[in-house]
């Protein structure tokens, strides 16, 4: 799908939200839902940043680290990929305090989602690094570069382009998973919706607005990633069309 189609979809979603918001039966829910949406966005952004950091670190540690680091990274990836994000949230929020470590609910949300998605991300990073042609490693070796120099200057910039689409998927997954944080006392978009629904039973307006809001947010992610992909592949593809 082209970027234009995506932008058009986003515009339609926003216009429909705007139009509904002027209706008397919908209007009352907007301030609360927007408040929830802000928290959802905060968690999604911080969680994504943590996921990138963890994904890159875990991939590099598994591929090039000394044995203890490799082992540690593998344990991390398998634990966070092999158990559900909901259980991870509960564990950090309800079990950790039993051992005397109490974390703020917001911090737990960012940690659990970021670590969870980072575990998947490490496989994305690893695959992208391995997709760079062997000749690039060999040329860097022939120029006597060190392993870190090769990675930083030659391999990662090329792997970056291949990483963007799968990371886009992961960011959207993470955005949708933020709905789970309503179960650890956070007033995110999903929590606000449930709360209002229980108080008013206006199921149709509330969940229609929430649906459109999640859609709008994920479209922003998709469009952003497409633009990034286009920019990043410019350097590699420059002149190919010429």
């Amino acid at each position: 799908m082209g970027i234009r189609t995506l932008v058009a979809m986003l515009a339609v979603a926003l216009v429909v939200i705007g139009a509904l918001a002027t209706q008397e039966s919908y209007k009352v829910f907007m301030p609360g839902l927007l408040q929830g949406a802000v928290l959802t966005i905060e968690i999604a952004i911080l969680g994504s940043l943590l996921a990138i950091v963890m994904g890159v670190l875990a991939a590099l540690a598994r591929m090039y680290g000394p044995a203890p680091l490799r082992w540690l990274a593998t344990v991390y990836v398998e634990i966070f990929r092999g158990t559900s994000a909901l259980v991870q949230l509960f564990w950090l929020f309800f079990v950790l305090p039993q051992f005397g470590v109490t974390l703020d609910a917001f911090l737990v949300a960012v940690l659990a989602l970021g670590l969870n998605v980072g575990a998947y991300g490490s496989e994305v990073v690893r695959g992208a690094i391995q997709s760079v042609a062997r000749g690039q490693w060999e040329a860097s070796t022939a120029l006597n570069m060190s392993r870190p120099q090769m990675l930083r200057r030659i391999i990662l910039p090329q792997a970056f382009v291949a990483m963007i689409p799968p990371w886009g998927n992961l960011f959207i997954e993470l955005l949708k998973s933020t709905a789970l944080v309503s179960l650890i006392t956070l007033s995110d978009l999903a929590f606000k919706a449930q709360q209002m629904n229980q108080n008013t039973f206006k199921t149709i307006p509330i969940f229609t607005l929430v649906l459109l809001m999640y859609l709008a947010m994920s479209l922003v992610v998709t469009i952003g990633m497409r633009l990034l992909e286009r920019r990043a592949s410019l350097g590699l593809a420059r002149g190919k069309a010429a």
Binding site: A142, L143, N144, S146, R238, G239, K240
Partner: protein, 259 residues
């Protein structure tokens, strides 16, 4: 005391599982010597270059560069397998040009040529650029310095790759079938650059090639490889003019027939 050979393979073997690619290779190359390696595919020619560039490990023997071991280091009077720091120190004397160019696609011709001088040798950007500009001029591509590899023809890419390798000021240059991936009409421009390099620079050159005419005209010595061994070697006039070995004769006959 006689001068150390630039490169010495001392009884070097390379095996992949049960397959022996090189079998006890002994080969000395003098400073400034131009040596061509010819032979049928699978005879271990390319492996010789790749081992010298440390792209392949070796199973037996020692490779020496200017009297120092490349694959090993001395510790308590004994040779032990080299660590990465030692390999990098010796490897700095060697440069390589590949069959498939292997330019960095996200960098311009100029950036390709200054990358390693800056990151590896620690040169100042301005100095590295001045040197790269000279080299790009030598390979006839001054006006293409801001082009990306995808905007260049195969011949032009290979000339940039030669400039990039030279920018590291190696003493030994390895050319691995550098014209094999090129369209026939582009082969000449690359060979011309190699000729020029041989004339103007005091480089030791070792090349694997299928260009028999070029090997004959350019080399001081030609080695014919067969089944992981040097089957015959000598000055090109002898090896091409009066090959002694039956296999050499067969190979040259087949190649010249086809060419």
């Amino acid at each position: 005391m006689t001068e150390q050979p630039m490169v010495r393979f001392d009884n070097v073997s390379k095996r992949y599982g049960a397959l022996t690619v090189l079998d006890g290779l002994n080969l000395e190359i003098a400073r400034g010597e131009k040596v061509s390696i010819i032979g049928p595919s699978g005879s271990g020619k390319t492996t010789v270059l790749r081992m010298l560039m440390t792209l392949e490990t070796i199973n037996d023997g020692v490779i020496w560069v200017e009297g120092e071991p490349l694959t090993h280091m001395e510790r308590n009077g004994k040779l032990v397998p080299a660590d990465l720091a030692h390999i990098r120190k010796i490897r700095a004397k060697i440069g390589m040009v590949f069959q498939s160019f292997n330019l960095f696609p996200h960098m311009t011709a100029m950036q390709n040529c200054i990358e390693a001088p800056i990151t590896v040798l620690g040169m100042k950007r301005a100095d590295a650029e001045a040197r790269a500009a000279e080299l790009l001029d030598m390979v006839g591509l001054s006006e293409k310095k801001d082009h990306y590899p995808s905007q260049l023809s195969g011949g032009q890419q290979q000339r940039v790759a030669i400039a990039r390798a030279c920018a590291m000021r190696p003493k030994i240059m390895l050319f691995d079938e550098v014209t094999s991936a090129l369209d026939p009409e582009l082969v000449g421009e690359v060979l011309e650059v190699i000729r020029k390099l041989g004339r103007e620079h005091d480089l030791t050159m070792l090349m694997v090639t299928h260009q028999m005419g070029f090997a004959k005209e350019f080399s001081d010595r030609v080695c014919f490889f067969h089944a992981g061994k040097i089957c015959e070697q000598g000055p090109p006039s002898e090896l091409f003019g009066a090959p002694k070995n039956e296999r050499t004769r067969q190979f040259l006959h087949a190649v010249l027939e086809a060419g």
